[in-house]
Symmetry: C2
Subunit: 350 residues, 2 copies
């Protein structure tokens, strides 16, 4: 321990026996609180404070997006993907959501002693295929091996660099009342596929993860409609948590129309049976788009013509009040308040 | 699992039951073989193929260095540092070794459920202090929490972006026979400090990790002597393994003078007692510098005037043959061949 830190930590340790909970990593309220209480004060800088999916930084006049994510999904292989595909698509999508063209990725592997080399080859092959589809190069890497039991198989971190698309001004600060909120497709597929894989459930209708690189679609959208205010992928914490974050950052209210939100019947059935809410389930190939209603038809037509946006729909609208809150107009005509995810529905989903 | 991969993986799995060993992550021969056999063929691209500490990439005409490392050191706190300080300094140094000015870091945390919040605060504070000293901003982050037992406390990945210093041409391809090899200070301190911390050893003379950001020193060196051929920090695998990598990449031989290599007596004593060789021990605040002999006096005077280079010395010379080999002229006049690290002296050293 550094001597400078020693004194401060001694003090902190004496008064603070709080421990990290699983829910501190679920992307919901406790995650947000942890980052706000511990990371942001320490690392305070303009780029980090924005708390977007990716930071915007400038190097010698060139505007870049820079982001990172660690992947700890369990099981490593599931219907529609594996940890390798996820590690590439997730970081590619985070870059795309800042309005950037993803270019370069790094990959850091932490592997458990005894891990099958053949499984590692599968994972690396998935990364190769996903990187090829997304048009990014994996240019830097690191491999650590820890003793048996010190990690659960393999964890992968990817970080990514993208070039900000000229003319786009993606930011929660561009959100205005009366804008439409568009969802690019059905929600919950990834979480249900991973859950089924983890517990060996055989679902009546097979559900595959939606894990996919969205950067091609984003580039099309931003080229046609540079006025798009916000793009965000509803991963951990799902659509409800993501919209809560945007409502808070943009200081607006949001009202969703439950009937308009695309969910596969099989996902609804699993959720009804097990008590999950699809609005809080993680997606890995979907995005939320905020834009003035005048652009909705064009955005929808671009989405629906693309393989990753066929079920796109307008699911709600921005309101001036109540600030920071997300409501859901339900099928029976009432309004349900959607908070951020508080407990943890499903840890290790990505 | 992706369907495309499924067939190929089925085939591979049938013929390949090989498992990952601890030594696949030690930075030595097996690490090199794993990367060469699995990662490089999949991700093949010019930047990755160079296998330097950091990749050199270009975004809209701006030349960047990009690198990543995961930190899994055990114990988390040790004399002279902790995992947080290490995670910042290690990545800052990797960027500096490519001849870049480190600018931005990302930080990905994987934390075990139940981890003390006070320990996390200590680690984050160390990262803040190290980033402040190095003059870098931590702009992007991610926090995952996994259930108890699925990770050993906390692992941290950092990735970094730097701006390549104009005029420097750091590359193994710039290495020529007759160049001097300069080491910036005593070796083995980090590994011995971590080992002592891990096993609760009380050493007769306290040894602290040398963990430090070297980018300030590198900038001074490259400004004064842009002709420097190679900079490399001898971390995992130590000086012997690092020099083997350079000898292979540069297609030269290397001869070291054992008597010239700075090692603290206390480190030598621990090594003699426990059977370690300081030439294979990890360092976290040292660098190797290759340059024409004409610049050695200037390089040494810059190093020795800096707090991180006081014990700097010329420790050897580049030879035209034998290509890819590193020899050590010993105190008794013989020559010992130094191979890359093969087994693992000390896992989880960084």
């Amino acid at each position: 321990m550094c001597s400078l830190v020693q004194i401060r930590c001694g003090e902190v340790a004496a008064i603070n026996k709080e421990r990290i909970l699983l829910a501190h990593g679920n992307g919901g309220k406790l995650s947000h609180d942890l980052v706000a209480a511990v990371m942001v004060p320490a690392f305070a800088n303009e780029a980090l404070n924005e708390l977007h999916d990716g930071a915007k930084v400038t190097v010698q006049g060139t505007k870049l997006a820079f982001t990172t994510d660690s992947y700890v999904v369990k099981p490593l292989f599931f219907a529609g993907g594996d940890i390798g595909k996820l590690a590439v698509c997730g970081t590619v999508n985070d870059l795309a959501m800042t309005g950037a063209i993803p270019l370069y990725l790094s990959a850091g592997f932490i592997i458990e002693e005894g891990f099958l080399l053949s499984d590692l080859r599968c994972i690396v092959e998935s990364m190769r295929l996903a990187a090829e589809e997304a048009g990014v190069a994996i240019v830097a890497g690191d491999t650590k091996v820890v003793e048996k039991g010190a990690v659960d198989g393999i964890y992968i971190n990817t970080a990514g660099i993208g070039a900000i698309i000229e003319g786009s001004a993606i930011s929660p600060l561009s959100v205005r009342p009366e804008q439409d909120i568009i969802l690019s497709g059905c929600i919950g597929d990834h979480a249900v596929a991973v859950m089924a894989g983890r517990h060996g459930l055989t679902l009546p209708q097979a559900i595959s993860s939606d894990c996919a690189p969205l950067n091609g679609l984003v580039k099309e959208l931003l080229t046609a409609v540079p006025q798009i205010a916000v793009l965000r992928d509803p991963t951990r914490g799902g659509v409800a948590t993501t919209l809560n974050e945007i409502a808070l950052q943009a200081k607006v209210g949001i009202m969703l129309d439950e009937a308009a939100i695309p969910v596969r019947p099989a996902v609804t059935a699993v959720c009804d049976l097990l008590g999950y809410d699809p609005l809080y389930l993680a997606n890995e190939g979907k995005m939320l788009i905020f834009a003035d209603g005048a652009y909705s038809a064009e955005i929808l037509s671009i989405l629906q013509a693309h393989k990753y946006g066929k079920e796109a729909a307008v699911i709600g609208r921005v309101q001036s009040v109540p600030v920071g809150q997300v409501g859901l107009r339900t099928g029976i005509g009432g309004v349900r308040l959607l908070d951020r995810l508080v407990g943890d529905q499903l840890p290790r989903i990505c």
